[in-house]
């Protein structure tokens, strides 16, 4: 049965492998260059909380040079979804064509068929996701050391969440495919569902998973140390002593201020940040992975159950 399972998802396994190769082709050369520049410019000395002028320039130069790749990584958010739906396709395709009945009228039990098919889909998705995680973590390592990994763009491509995302897309496509029995529509619906779930998580849900910290400080002072490498969800102006609201810029400039922050400082303003500190990286990763993974397991189990009991 395992031979049959592999034979049937051969094309889709190749698609997943080709995607990985593509990602590697884009990221490996630039990753090597970035690691090289990091060492050459001695950026390991710039990791402290209070950077020097020279460090600022060196870091700026690195970020500018690799900016287009950092943007590109955003598109790689689609890759776990593609893994999931591609590796779910053989299951839906088999139900669509009715060839599962061929397997069910051989000597194996239907349960074993379902478990093997779903097991293969899950394990190849996990494998593909693991390789993708490896490439992305390796590539971003210098940037993570400099800027942390809490910002949405970095968080999504680090740690274990990719595993959860891939399995979620897989589960969704399997469940839709099991009920609908049309591979192409199932894959498309699942991919849209994956996309919506990711946007929803990035923009609304994640900041509610682990209670963010809140910090207030006088506007004239440097940012507090706790904000180092943190994910700043919001930053607002609070408690301006003279009157409510920001004084007119004109008045500020007369007093010698050159920007809003100075203006605030002159008027004794305070800033308040809501943020997830760097120390919340793993709790957030694990909660989000468990969430996507949990839904995925439920969807995959449903797909199997439905397939076994429908006919």
């Amino acid at each position: 049965m395992i031979w049959l399972g592999w034979r049937q998802q051969r094309t889709e396994t190749m698609i997943a492998a080709a995607l990985l190769v593509l990602v590697a082709l884009i990221l490996v050369p630039s990753g090597i260059e970035m690691a090289h520049q990091y060492t050459r410019d001695g950026l390991s000395h710039c990791l402290g909380f209070t950077p020097s002028q020279a460090c600022d320039e060196a870091v700026g130069s690195l970020e500018q040079r690799f900016n287009k790749f950092i943007d590109l990584i955003g598109w790689f958010n689609l890759v776990p979804g593609l893994f999931g739906v591609a590796l779910a396709a053989p299951f839906a395709l088999e139900l669509e064509r009715g060839t599962h009945r061929l397997a069910w009228t051989q000597s194996i039990t239907r349960r074993r068929w379902v478990v093997t098919k779903l097991g293969l889909a899950v394990s190849s998705t996990v494998l593909a996701a693991a390789v993708l995680i490896g490439i992305l973590i390796w590539w971003r390592a210098p940037l993570v050391r400099l800027d942390g990994r809490m910002d949405t763009g970095a968080f999504d491509s680090q740690g274990t969440v990719i595993l959860g995302y891939s399995l979620f897309a897989l589960g969704l496509a399997l469940a839709v495919g099991a009920v609908w029995r049309r591979a192409i529509p199932a894959v498309m619906v699942a991919f849209v569902g994956y996309f919506v779930a990711r946007i929803f998580t990035d923009t609304w849900l994640r900041q509610r998973l682990v209670t963010p910290h809140k910090l207030t400080w006088a506007a004239g002072r440097d940012d507090p140390r706790a904000l180092w490498h943190a994910w700043k969800i919001s930053e607002t102006i609070v408690s301006i002593n003279s009157h409510s609201g920001l004084p007119p810029m004109a008045e500020c400039i007369r007093k010698g201020a050159t920007n809003v922050k100075q203006c605030l400082a002159v008027n004794g303003g305070h800033l308040q940040a809501v943020f997830e500190p760097a120390s919340n990286f793993w709790p957030l990763q694990l909660v989000e992975t468990a969430m996507f993974g949990g839904v995925a397991i439920a969807l995959i189990a449903f797909a199997g159950w439905w397939t076994l009991h429908r006919e």
């Binding site: 031979w3 034979r7 009945r101 061929l102 397997a103 009228t105 051989q106 000597s107 039990t109």
Partner: protein, 294 residues
């Protein structure tokens, strides 16, 4: 001993009955034709027997086992070729045989290879590139190499041209001759099956209308013709399956209980096709009647 027995078996999809109150026995070692018009429940009955669907009512047993509950024990003993004989179109013939080998502990590779060789099918050819007849033969090979005790074929020849139809049925005959097994073939055309089968089940309107050995069936059915008359006298003794009247004469197709002796009626033998048609409610075609009368 019966290879397949059903007891008040029924299958309902929503408010539609696909099969209703079906009680029948198919003896072990028989080759049975399962005949009925499209939608009569032939496919449903076979799917129930092989566990592809579960009964809504009643029970079905194959070799004394329940297809769904005793799946593990029963499936190695049952070969099944579905109506559209689904195969993996992207697989080569060799890969399809490998599938059979991997999924069936009782697989006999000699049977498979010999058959494929005999059919002159190239092992490296994609199944999707084969003709309909060849695909049906590959599907049959898959079912036969499993060495089943019961072989179920759902409309195996419906989509085939006359030559492929003949070849396929010959393959079935050869297999039955070589290996003892019970075969059930469904079809909406009886002529194909008469040559191959020794038993008959007629399904119509989701129910079993007639079950028995073909010899007995043919021997017990008679066509009676005579002047226009009421059939109630005959019906008291025999089962009148079909009565038709023209201006001058009445013709009755009856299942005789014992001898038909009545000077009023002229007796004719009927062939299987006419009997089947009578049970399916089509009557005996008018021109054929005239032929018989003349």
């Amino acid at each position: 001993m019966s290879a397949i027995s059903t007891d008040a078996l029924g299958k309902r999809y929503g408010s539609t009955w696909a099969l209703r109150d079906c009680t029948l026995e198919i003896p072990a070692g028989s080759v049975t034709a399962l005949v009925g018009p499209n939608g009569a429940g032939k496919t449903t009955l076979l799917k129930l027997a092989v566990g592809l669907t579960r009964p809504s009512f009643g029970a079905v047993e194959v070799l004394g086992l329940a297809p769904r509950e005793d799946e593990r024990e029963l499936m190695p003993k049952v070969g099944f070729v579905a109506q559209d004989h689904p195969l993996h179109m992207g697989f080569t013939v060799a890969e399809t045989l490998k599938l059979g080998q991997r999924l069936n502990p009782s697989w006999n590779d000699d049977i498979a290879r010999t058959r494929i060789e005999h059919l002159r099918l190239p092992l490296d050819r994609k199944v999707g590139k084969l003709s309909g007849g060849q695909q049906a033969q590959v599907a049959l090979t898959l079912a036969l190499a499993k060495q089943p005790e019961v072989l179920l074929l759902d409309e195996p020849v419906a989509s085939l041209d006359p030559l492929a139809r003949r070849e396929f049925l010959n393959s079935v005959l050869e297999a039955v001759a070589e290996h003892a097994m019970t075969v059930v073939l469904s079809s909406h055309i009886v002529t194909d099956l008469e040559r191959v089968c020794d038993h008959l089940v007629i399904l119509s309107e989701s129910r079993a209308q007639l079950v028995g050995s073909i010899d007995e069936i043919v021997a017990s059915h008679r066509l009676l013709t005579g002047p226009l008359a009421d059939a109630s006298d005959v019906a008291r003794v025999h089962d009148v399956i079909r009565a038709s009247h023209t201006k001058r004469q009445t013709s009755l197709l009856v299942r005789a209980n014992g001898h038909v002796y009545d000077a009023k009626w002229e007796l004719h033998e009927v062939d299987l096709e006419d009997i089947v048609l009578a049970y399916l409610g089509y009557g005996v075609a008018e021109y054929e009647l005239e032929e018989v009368v003349r």
